[in-house]
Structures are given as C-alpha cells and as structure tokens.
Subunit: 333 residues, 2 copies
C-alpha cells in the first residue's frame, strides 16, 4: 500500500492507499463472476464491472477493516460481496427504470435484454451470499442479509412513492436508506465486525456508513436538478421526468401555494409535462430555497458521518474517511 | 401429526403427516413476507403464496428433517427459506417468460408490473437469506447459497440455449438441475444436515432430491406436449411456442433426417411457426419415439430417487418419499 500525496480527491487517495487490497478484490470479482455453464453471465457482468465504477463501497469495507487493525484475508471477500450486491442492484434498477445508459455506456438491458439483466443480477446476489458464507461469521451474514432486504424494500417503496405527492421527508429517508445508505452502512460495519473491535466501534462504523450514504444520495438528488445553482445540464431533470419525489421536490410541494400545488399535481401526480415545466419546477425550488435546504441537510449528514469516526483509531485512514464525507457534499457547488 | 389413510395421492398423505409442521411454516411465511414500509411487498407475495402451490419443496425439507429424527424448530425456518427462494424464482421467471398466468391466476407481472415482480422477488431472496441465517449453520448457508447460484445459472443457460438446435442432452440436464433439481436437492439435504445425521445419509438425501427434481422436470416437459399420448390440450405447446429445447425436442432433432431438420430449424431456430406446425412436431416426436424415451428416462431418475433412500431410516416417512418419486412419473399416462 502506498499513499500518493499528489492525488487531489480523497477518493483517489483512499484508492491509492488501498491499492494492493483493491487489486485482490478485483481479482476475486473476476474469478467469481465466471460461470462454468453460462457464458452470458460473465459477459453481462464484465460489461458493468469493467466500465469502472468508483468502487466506493468495497473500498469502504477495506478501509473499515484496516482502520480497525484487521490483518486477515476476509475483508477482500466482503469487499467483493458488497460490490456484487451493488452490481446486482444496478442490473435490476436499470430494468425497473427502463434505463438506456449506465456508467456512460449502454445499459445491459439495452445491449442484451431485460431477461439477462434480471437473471444475471440474481446470479450475482447468489454469488454474494456464497462469498460472505466463506468468511464464516454469522454476524456478518446477518448484517448483509438484513441490508439486502432493506435495499429491496427501499426500491419497492420508491416504486410506490413515485408520483405520489403525499410522500413525506420521512418516507424519502426510508427510500434513501434502502437505495443507498443500507449498503454503505453494512459495508463499513462488516469491516469492524471481522476485525473484532468493541461493539461501540462497530456501531460507529455503521453510523458513519449510514450518514455518508444519506449525504451521498441527497447530493445525487440535488445534482439531478443541477445543484444549488439549478443550472440545466445534459443530465438534469431525469428524476423530474420519472416523477420521483426527491427531497428538493418534497420540500417545494410542502411550501407550495394553491397554484403551485396545481402545477406539481399536473407534472408529478398526473405526469403531464410540457415544454418549460422543468424550468418552472426549478424556479419554484429556487423561490422556496429547497435546493439550498437540501444541501444543508446533506452537509449535516456528512458532519454526522465525520463525528461518528471520533471513537475509531486515529491515523491516515480515519482522516481519509472523514475527508470522503466532506468530499461527497463538496460535489455541489 | 396425523396420517389420513384415506387420502389417495402420496403428496396429500405427506401433507397430512406433516400438517402441524406445515402450519408453522405457513405462519412463518406470512410473518416474514410482511414489510414495515412497503405494503406492495406482501400484496404481491400473498397473491402468489395464497394461490396455494403444492408446497412440495418445503414439505421435502420437513420430511427429510423428521425422517432423520430432527426434534428442533429450525426445519420450519429452512422450509420457509426454500419456499421463499422458490417464490422469488417464480416472480422473476414470469418476467423473463412474459407469462400472464401462474397457478391458475393472472401472474403478478400482469396484475402489478414487471418492476414489482423483479423487486419483490429480490426482497424474498433477501428474506430467505435472513431466515437461513437464523439457523446458525454455516453448512446450511453454503448448501442454500450454492443452490441459489445454480438456479440463476440454469435460468441464464436456458435463456441462451432456447432456440439453439445445438443444445445437447447434457446442456438440458444442466438447465433442469438449475431450474428444478438444485432446489429439490438442497431442500432435502439441509433437512439431514440440521438433524446431524452421518455424511452418507446427507449425501443420500441430496441424491434423492436431485433425482426427484430431474424426474419431475422431465415429466413437466413431457406433459407440455400432452404426455406420451401427445394429445393437444389447452396448455399444450407452451414450450414449443417459446422455442425451448426440452428433451423430447432434443431427441427428435438428433433423430431428424434432412427434411425434418429443416422443419426444426424453421420453427425453433428461426421461430417461424405456422398453423399445423405443433401437430407436425408432435408427429415427428411420435415417429421417433422421443416422448416414450423421455418417459423412460424420467422413470429411471425416479427409480434412482427411490434407491437413494435405502440407507435412510425405515418407516412411514421413507415410504411416503419413495411413493412421491413414483407419483411424479405416474402423472404421465
């Protein structure tokens, strides 16, 4: 492991610090995505895995284990497990959202078909359970199977909450925990569990992952509206078109007068979106300051993530994890 | 537990014998299909679970555990686990096959949508892993996570083998093990594992489930062409229309002359199916005796299932399991 002091982003510095471990994770992923009988499986998986996501989740597992002084080899299995669960959910999400792009490439459901995405996702879920079983820790199995249930529940909740103007900030938080924070929290928690640190530190790692995941998703939802500057870019407005009730919209609906409420009912609940409606939505969010308010909430979760780290061992890894929390919210201008 | 001597089918007599255990399984299934946040989940699951499949798989787990003298409570968890895995695969299968009917009712993907079927299936997979984790046996986790991977692999293999006239009987057997026999074998094997019987008996239970599952699926594939009498009923020919390479077709393709091969290429490989083509396909299968040959293979697997039971404790349950093997193939006239 080496630390490249010149790398700018904390994410890149964490990747440099964990380079040897991550190489082992990538080798294990390549080995386990193979299939003796069905070559379609590694084809689909490789398309996604090799598109090179940021691998943030497996790095969190590696970092948590190392931070807690773990010296074994199972953190590599758990990091691969977490990445497989994440990849499986991406495959299924793209089917559910009818996506055509993922990580800047055509999505698997477009290149092959929805059937392949569903079944290869199932294969990766099963493979993830095989991998975690190899670690031999019932506590780890509990944490990761609970996280998988929370992820699926959050996805179903998002499906039924979409288009529903009655969606509250509490429901939004459950959706966010499901779609993002549950896996972040499990990723960091299992690192502490296999290292055998005291329960308070395990809980601190869970709290860090949970808060980081929530901050991360809130910022994602904010960036979908162009950030606090609400500038329309080429990827702006996907959530608006899919009529998702994300925090900036929920806050705008809560603050709406009768006329504004009629507008939200038309574009979100009824899905009648005309030319200029996204602009009008952005105008309403600016008027009520909901983009700024969302940013402030994301910053508060990032601060909570940092604070959670305080009872963990001091040092370079802890500093990097704290900086990642800051970096996640710094993505918003 | 009581044995209703008047019940005719061995399946019904097994159900009567295991009635108290099955009531506990059904209660656990109802409890665990609940969702605190997403009511869509129990709606979809109940639609399928309460349509009342035969619950053969969970009964196999209960029977195997009881046959091996198990007196604890975890066989109930494992039976529910097996039924959840099965239900999850049915939900995803219906999406993949674009089905409109399941267990005589409109399928979930039709009543709700494909999205709900995919995500609720994921939820049930995750729930199944939570349930098996509660049993605290790493060996059980290994068996069931391996079975889940084999199931998904078999489904992908079936997807890529469909329409491919080069599909061999060996590939067919891998597909059948994936789609049916892997879960049957895991269902019986884990019953022996939690009972703590000697390894040879555990392996015998695995062999029984594997052979029973293969016989079961071969008969299903045969019945899709009306059985050995090849009589067209209202459900005949689904596999033909979906261009699936099941054993009766694989054997007919292998025996085909040039003209017959051109026919199979047209209807299966190219998918050009005209009025009368199903009749012609049935005629070719009759001419080459492939329906009868498939039945003989299914009977051989059923015999293997029976034989596998010989080293297990004698008694009523062993007799019932042996009769189930006979009954599975007796479905074909």
């Amino acid at each position: 492991m080496s630390l490249d002091e010149t790398a700018h982003k904390p994410h890149d510095r964490l990747a440099a610090y964990l380079a040897a471990d991550m190489a082992a994770v990538n080798a294990l992923i390549r080995e386990r995505m193979a299939s003796e009988h069905a070559p379609r499986i590694p084809e689909v998986t490789a398309h996604l895995v090799e598109a090179g996501g940021k691998r943030l989740r497996p790095m969190l597992t590696l970092a948590a284990a190392r931070l807690c002084g773990y010296e074994g080899i199972h953190h590599v299995h758990l990091a691969a497990t977490v990445e497989f669960i994440h990849t499986a959910t991406l495959l299924h999400d793209d089917v559910v959202d009818e996506s055509t792009q993922r990580r800047g490439r055509p999505s698997a459901n477009l290149l092959w078909d929805n059937k392949s995405s569903v079944l290869v996702g199932d294969y990766l879920f099963a493979r993830s359970f095989q991998l975690m079983t190899e670690c031999g820790s019932m506590r780890v199995m509990e944490i990761l199977s609970n996280a998988s249930a929370t992820i699926a529940e959050g996805e179903v909740l998002q499906l039924t909450a979409a288009q529903d103007l009655a969606t509250t900030e509490e429901i939004y938080l459950n959706v966010v925990r499901g779609k993002t924070a549950a896996l972040f929290a499990a990723a960091t928690e299992v690192g502490g569990v296999i290292a055998g640190v005291p329960e308070a530190q395990v809980q601190a790692l869970h709290a860090y992952g949970d808060a980081l995941g929530i901050a991360f998703q809130m910022v994602d939802d904010l960036l979908d509206y162009g950030g606090t500057s609400a500038v329309i870019g080429k990827n702006t407005g996907d959530d608006f078109r899919e009529r998702k009730l994300t925090l900036p919209v929920i806050k705008a609906v809560a603050a709406a007068d009768a006329e504004e409420r009629a507008f939200w009912t038309k574009v979100i609940a009824r899905g009648q979106q005309d030319e200029g409606d996204l602009d009008r939505a952005l105008g309403l969010m600016r008027r009520h300051g909901t983009l700024e308010a969302t940013k402030i909430e994301a910053q508060a979760w990032a601060a909570k993530a940092r604070t959670s780290l305080e009872i963990l061992p001091e040092g370079e890894l802890r500093t990097l994890l704290a900086e990642i929390a800051d970096y996640v919210v710094a993505r918003v201008s």
